[in-house]
Symmetry: none
Subunit: 415 residues, 2 copies
Amino acid sequence: MVEIITIGDELLIGQVIDTNSAWMGRELNKAGFDVQRITSVRDKKEEIQDVLEKASMRAKIILMTGGLGPTRDDITKKTLCEFFNTHLVFNQEVFNDIQGFLKGRVKNINELNRSQALVPEKCEVIRNGMGTAPIMWFDYNDSVVVSMPGVPLEMKLAMSNSIIPRLKQKYQPGIIIHKTVLVHNIPEAVLAEMLTLWEDALPSEIKLAYLPAPGRIRLRLSARGTDGQRLQDQIDEAVDGLLPLIGDNIYGEEDLPAAEIFAGFFQNTGKSLALAESCSGGHLAHLVTSVAGSSAYFKGSLVTYSNEMKQKFLGVKAKDLEQFGAVSPQVVEQMALGALKATGADYAIATSGIAGPGGGTDEKPVGTVWMAWAASGNKVVSKRFRFGKDRERNIWRTSETALIELMQMMKKGEI
Amino acid sequence: MVEIITIGDELLIGQVIDTNSAWMGRELNKAGFDVQRITSVRDKKEEIQDVLEKASMRAKIILMTGGLGPTRDDITKKTLCEFFNTHLVFNQEVFNDIQGFLKGRVKNINELNRSQALVPEKCEVIRNGMGTAPIMWFDYNDSVVVSMPGVPLEMKLAMSNSIIPRLKQKYQPGIIIHKTVLVHNIPEAVLAEMLTLWEDALPSEIKLAYLPAPGRIRLRLSARGTDGQRLQDQIDEAVDGLLPLIGDNIYGEEDLPAAEIFAGFFQNTGKSLALAESCSGGHLAHLVTSVAGSSAYFKGSLVTYSNEMKQKFLGVKAKDLEQFGAVSPQVVEQMALGALKATGADYAIATSGIAGPGGGTDEKPVGTVWMAWAASGNKVVSKRFRFGKDRERNIWRTSETALIELMQMMKKGEI
């Protein structure tokens, strides 16, 4: 069992988001270690000491980051000395590293820099490959306390190269295998009901978690034990059991953003893509182009926010805009077909909706979105969606849904 | 004093980064409350209970997020019942809200949805404006425990609209006034050096924080005390002192995203805007359309990812693409002028660059971005930027810089 302690006022006032803990949790988990608690405290000696004492009663492994800088407000080292009843000693090797690191960066090495070479006598020093703060490893009884800098790159290097390998050697953790199944178009409560029997039948080694995002749910299965092959088989069997229940709603089996799942699929088809966006306002193009390599299949997007532009660039008929409104199957289908024609792409997606907060009517409330998908040969399919009231969320859901739907329709040969 | 407890296995295994705590810390700080500790625990009853007990001995205000979903792994509600020695009762108002929220989203409301209307008898329910999980407020002695959903949008709405106002009323923290000055185009260390004397002269009531983001720095001045007028005067005076030092680099004086600062300025000019995007890939259009009301001035964006599209929609000359490459002043200026002509807008912005990770050369390394700004009457200005190696960050910096630069040039009459 592991506990993480992150230290620094900036975390508590929200100036910095603690991304270190999540990274450490992920890497430790992969290595077979469970993090049971993460605590963030201010740069105050009594508070750090309190957390350290309590954590050491619960966990065998305590990993700390932060509070190791040369300035006055950094007091982790002093606190560790008191905790382990030891004192600071000058370490020539650390000082050599500091000199090497600062060479060419500062004119003179000052007292503050020199003070970083003072380390608690009872600890084993792990060299910091990227900065001036030494990493301190304390062994006591069967437990370990490690103190690392809060700078993410320095922490990551130390964790990957030294700390995780040492922990594995010392504690010989079991094997843990994760599998994430991506599900769309089913509300969480409905999904949970559909999966009740399946969930009850899961072997005890497998733990299930629902991770919901707007319009999507990630189902995470984690298997733990000592026999890797057996765990993998159990996971595979569990995932196979999902297919007859919710197969149509599964759009991916890797823990990746929707845009990357789509890119992985679409790139392999060898086809090209164009977009015609109204309510998604460029965000759909952004999702597509956020994935490196998209220029291989992405022609471009016509973000036609005004009706005038919809006519000019996509050939939408003025009378249809007039009669049905921009948020209609008639218009969105013309947009998709127009994008195909204008760009010569193999597939096109069009969006038109009311993102909010204004613009809603009784018939078409905020959150109403029409989407169309077109393929060469004048094939076109359109669907209506009713999202929520939040503009940002509506834009996100429109873009992600547009990509997932196209992928699912192409897989089933529906377009 | 406040403690935050975030609950969920996904936080401990690092599948989700705890961004809620930082947001809460920031907002609480603005309201005059100090967060002293943040603890993340798994969905385990004994662990939640343990954290809650210890926190309640240290802090008067405990804010919890997570573990309120309808599925089995969510056990916060049950844990709170045990902690407060109470039991769950059916709440008709919550159920009505759930019905309203799910209307049109699910066919039938099932047992799991219904179970979300069960709330501890001893708590006061705060309505969730965006989801099905009720928010629970427990008063005991002089202390408060609040349990909120972990979904960021739901938590933020509840915090802003209900919880922070209630906490302020109950605990009357002192007066705290914040002012944020938005600065671009100066590196943090240079800015800090330029402001040394100004900073030394700040009155003791004012605390200064540098909040850096790629390419921009938010300078936050916070004044805390009891005399609101005096604090406001001190803040105003401090900001006045900044103008002669870095006036040209200040692009806003409100803590808002660049897109909103731009929208507030541009909407008032009564002019219209069009975009021609290559490396920003739709993200620039997304920034513009992320602000409600943008349809009043935004014509659209031609996201021309391929050279073919740049020629067809923007009239870029094939020989210039050939001779100078797509990432060149010649091409980006033609893109901006082409967007003006194609859309009839008053102003246009064009972007073309190498977002990475691939595509860099010695002459044009990854991060090289050309931008152009055009105005009716064939006026056009172009500039080159050298950003970094990270694709996502390059896209962000391109979009934000494009908007800030146009605004600053328009203010100075340079375009």
